[in-house]
Structures are given as structure tokens and as C-alpha cells.
């Protein structure tokens, strides 16, 4: 039951600021851009970025949404895990917009694959980019890579990367744990 801290609060803060600046570099005033947090854990990260972009970097308005991918997953009826849905909250059309997906950990890439299908229900985006806090290298099942990444982590399959947020889990930190039941 080992548990190793990969990032502390200060490091996360620096990374979030960097990611926010990189977004501004590519998206300017965000008029043609929508930012979509993937349920459940990507939403915390997207809310943090929203807060930073509004307060520190003085961006006036960004369309933020939440996307649940449960009904688009490719492991339905393939195992014992029951898939429970979360709320999708996208009250705008993504037609011709630049979409940025936000998720906490990029692992196999299957969630992102599902999200790529799911977003089509809301129109045809001009482009889609991916922002993740943690990129687990060498573990991809699909040819999907992040456009913006906080930190790259090399972890073996038995290990698990856990991102905790102060508003939900009591502290800002990223841990590597060994307790995954394979």
C-alpha cells in the first residue's frame, strides 16, 4: 500500500498557471472557444482553470461545459463494473467552435475516444484539443495525445495516479498508489 506524492499544492498551482497561459496563447479572448470538462474528475480541473482565467488573466467570458461520456463508453456490457452516469451540462452549440477537452489523467485514451463521439451530439466543432493535468506515458490503447499537459508520469499498470482537489478531497495533490486490484 505505497503512496507517493508526485505533485504538491505549489507545484499544481504553477502548472495550472502555465496551462492557463498556454490556453490564452492559442485561444486569445476565447470568443470562438469552448472549454469542456469531462465528468466526473475533469470538471474540477476545468473549474480551476476557469477561475484562474477569469480572475488572474482577466478573460471576460468563456463558455464552459460538462460532458458525461457514460453512454458512449466502449466497455458497456463487458465486465462487472456498472457504469453510472453523471450530469452533462452544455447549454451552447459547439458547431464551428474550437473545443478544448479537460481531464485530470490521460491513461488509455478510451475516455477521450468516447468524448470525441459524445461531443458530436452538440454539433461539428472546428477543432478539438485535449488538456490533461497528468499524462501517463506508454499506457495508451489508442492514438490519442494531449495538446496541453501538466506533468508526464511513467507508471506501470498496477499503479494508479490519483488527483485530489481541495474543494472535493481536502487538498491539492497528485499521488501515485500501488493498491490497484488487477
Amino acid at each position: 500500500m505505497g503512496k507517493k506524492k508526485l505533485l504538491n499544492q505549489k507545484e499544481i498551482d504553477i502548472i495550472l498557471n502555465r496551462l492557463a497561459c498556454q490556453l490564452i496563447e492559442n485561444h486569445d479572448d476565447f470568443k470562438e472557444t469552448v472549454v469542456i470538462g469531462l465528468q466526473p474528475r475533469g470538471v474540477f480541473l476545468s473549474q480551476r482553470l476557469q477561475q484562474l482565467l477569469y480572475t488572474v488573466y482577466q478573460i471576460e467570458h468563456i463558455d464552459f461545459g460538462k460532458l458525461d461520456i457514460t453512454f458512449y463508453r466502449d466497455d458497456f456490457m463487458r465486465g462487472n463494473k456498472v457504469l453510472q452516469a453523471n450530469k452533462t451540462d452544455i447549454d451552447f452549440i459547439v458547431e464551428n467552435k474550437k473545443v478544448v477537452f479537460v481531464d485530470d489523467v490521460l491513461y488509455t485514451g478510451r475516455s477521450i475516444r468516447s468524448a470525441l463521439t459524445a461531443i458530436q451530439s452538440f454539433g461539428r466543432p472546428q477543432s478539438i484539443e485535449l488538456l490533461t493535468l497528468i499524462d501517463r506515458r506508454f499506457s495508451r490503447h489508442l492514438p490519442i495525445q494531449p495538446d496541453y499537459k501538466g506533468r508526464q508520469v511513467d507508471a506501470i499498470n498496477r499503479e494508479r495516479v490519483i488527483v485530489s482537489w481541495e474543494e472535493n478531497d481536502g487538498e491539492d495533490a497528485v499521488y501515485l498508489t500501488q493498491d490497484r486490484n488487477e
Partner: protein, 315 residues
């Protein structure tokens, strides 16, 4: 809880309050899905569902078919009038022949009470009861209760009166089970001849005066008089039935509070409910129809997740 306790939806009697809550929560998500620009999800992409209707239906059949198609399932339809049932084939044979063509789920409406339960014991597919005779109509009860929850916030503690032909109504029985499981109080109201003899054993009170029932309730669910199931006359005339048990504007104005009016359809306008009430803001009849698709998507999705097509052994 994230899984249904049953593998079939045969009746509300067989499921728990937690099952009902899970169906409602899942339906919330599907209601959002069917209001998107593109109202379709790929969840049931490789699931085949047969809709077997041994009895007439428009709304329920359409609602199930839409729910199945919005989940991307493959759908085959069957109606008794155009089938070999007329040539003397038994129910089990009919269904087994359909299942031999690799069908995963069966949605069935049948004139005989218990047809779904019988089938679930003899065939290897997930069965959804879409109405079995005068017994149960679980999906209707779930969408009715879901509509009450949507309109009033919660079901617990609410007072619901079911008015009309209780004797021939599978909607009434399923509604009673569903509402009671969620903690609502239920009364039935109608002529003595159309109230089942032992209904009180279900913990339901009987009221024969519609005005008093309306004064008591938060929600009135108006049922249709099912002439097609009546072999004898149960009341002297339609005019007398309307005078005593028909809901109209005048009657509604007499009570000094706002109540929610429901109807499972099809409506006999001018009999159990007048047109001005059916089309008024008190009525949530069309909300019920919209919610029907979301509820049926939730049920099919939750039952399909128990099929487990691709376990390690089968691959």
C-alpha cells in the same frame, strides 16, 4: 446502488424502492440526452430488441421503439394480427423462434395477466412487460411517478387519487405499487362496480365522491373507461358516469387549491376529462409522454447492462 436487483421488468411488485430511484436518476440523464441537438447515444449498439405486441398499442409501442432507437439498439417489431399466432403457435414457441434469430431483449404486451412472468421462466432473454392484461403496466407507472416527482419535487408524502375504471386497469395497479413504494398516499375513486373487491388489502382507501377526493389530493390521475374489456354494463349510462366521475373546469374551480392532472392516454374527451382541463396548464399529460421515452431508455439501458455479452468466457 448502481445496478437493478432484477434481470427483467415484469411488474412494479417485483422491484424495490432503490430500483425505482436508480431508474429515475438514469432517466434524468436520458431526458437531457433526448433534448440535445442530436438525440441519440450508442450505448445499446449491438443489442437486438424484439417488440412483441399481442394487443393493440400506439403510444407505448412508439415510445419503446423511440427509446430503443435513441439507444442505438436494433429493433424488430411483431404484432399478433400479422403473425403465426393466428395459426395456433404457442407463446413460448413464438418467442423461442424469435430468440433463435439472436434477440437479446423482449418487450411484450399481452392480453393475459402474468404472460411476462411465464415467459421469463421459459426463455433466455431479458423481458420488459409493456402491459399484461389487467395486471401490471410497470413502465407507465414509472413514467407517471417520475412525472409527479418532476412536477412536485418529490413523491414521498404526496396524496394521489386514481379515478375511474380501476377494475380493468393495469395502470392503476402498477401505479399503486410504485407510489406506495416511494411513500405516497393513494386513494382510488370510481363507481362501486369498477373498484376491485379487495383493493383495500393493498392499503388503498376507496372514495366514491369525486369532489371530496379532489379536495384531498395533490394529484389526480384520470383513467379511461375501458369499454373493450367490459362484457357487461358497469354503470347505467356514459352521461351518468360523466356527471359523477368526469373532471371538468367547474369541478376543478370548486376546490380552492391547485392540483396536478394526469392521464395515461388515450383520452376519451368529454368522458373522464373535459377538453378544457386536458389542454390546461393543470394537466401534465404531454410531459408524461415525453418522460415515457426517457424512462424506457433508462430501463432498457439498466437491464442491458446486466446482459454482459462480452465476459471473458465468451470472447
Amino acid at each position: 446502488m448502481s445496478e437493478l436487483s432484477v434481470n427483467h421488468l415484469l411488474g412494479i411488485k417485483h422491484i424495490s424502492a432503490a430500483d425505482i430511484q436508480l431508474i429515475f436518476e438514469t432517466a434524468d440523464h436520458f431526458k437531457e440526452v433526448i433534448n440535445r441537438p442530436i438525440r441519440k447515444v450508442p450505448s445499446l449498439r449491438d443489442v437486438t430488441i424484439a417488440n412483441l405486441f399481442f394487443e393493440n398499442s400506439t403510444r407505448t409501442r412508439l415510445s419503446f421503439e423511440l427509446a430503443e432507437k435513441r439507444l442505438s439498439a436494433d429493433v424488430v417489431n411483431f404484432s399478433a394480427s400479422s403473425s403465426s399466432v393466428n395459426k395456433g403457435e404457442t407463446l413460448i414457441d413464438t418467442v423461442n423462434n424469435i430468440l433463435a434469430m439472436k434477440v437479446d431483449m423482449v418487450v411484450m404486451r399481452h392480453p393475459n395477466p402474468g404472460a411476462g412472468v411465464f415467459l421469463s421462466k421459459h426463455v433466455d432473454a431479458s423481458i420488459v412487460n409493456a402491459g399484461d392484461g389487467t395486471h401490471e403496466h410497470p413502465t407507465q407507472a414509472l413514467l407517471d411517478t417520475y412525472s409527479i416527482r418532476e412536477k412536485l419535487g418529490e413523491v414521498k408524502g404526496k396524496k394521489i387519487v386514481i379515478v375511474g375504471d380501476i377494475l380493468h386497469s393495469r395502470v392503476a395497479l402498477s401505479n399503486i405499487f410504485c407510489l406506495q413504494k416511494l411513500g405516497a398516499e393513494v386513494k382510488v375513486c370510481g363507481p362501486n362496480t369498477l373498484i376491485p373487491q379487495h383493493i383495500k388489502s393493498l392499503g388503498v382507501e376507496v372514495e366514491h365522491n369525486l369532489d371530496q377526493a379532489l379536495q384531498w389530493c395533490d394529484v389526480a390521475n384520470m383513467l379511461r373507461v375501458q369499454n373493450e374489456r367490459m362484457s357487461t354494463r358497469y354503470f347505467p349510462s356514459t352521461r351518468e358516469y360523466v356527471a359523477q366521475f368526469g373532471l371538468d373546469k367547474q369541478r376543478l374551480e370548486q376546490i380552492n387549491k391547485s392540483i396536478v392532472i394526469m392521464h395515461p392516454g388515450p383520452i376519451n374527451r368529454g368522458v373522464e376529462i373535459s377538453s378544457d382541463i386536458a389542454d390546461s396548464h393543470h394537466a401534465i399529460i404531454l410531459n408524461q409522454v415525453e418522460n415515457g421515452v426517457a424512462i424506457r431508455m433508462a430501463i432498457l439501458y439498466l437491464l442491458a447492462s446486466k446482459l454482459k455479452h462480452y465476459s471473458a468466457e465468451t470472447l
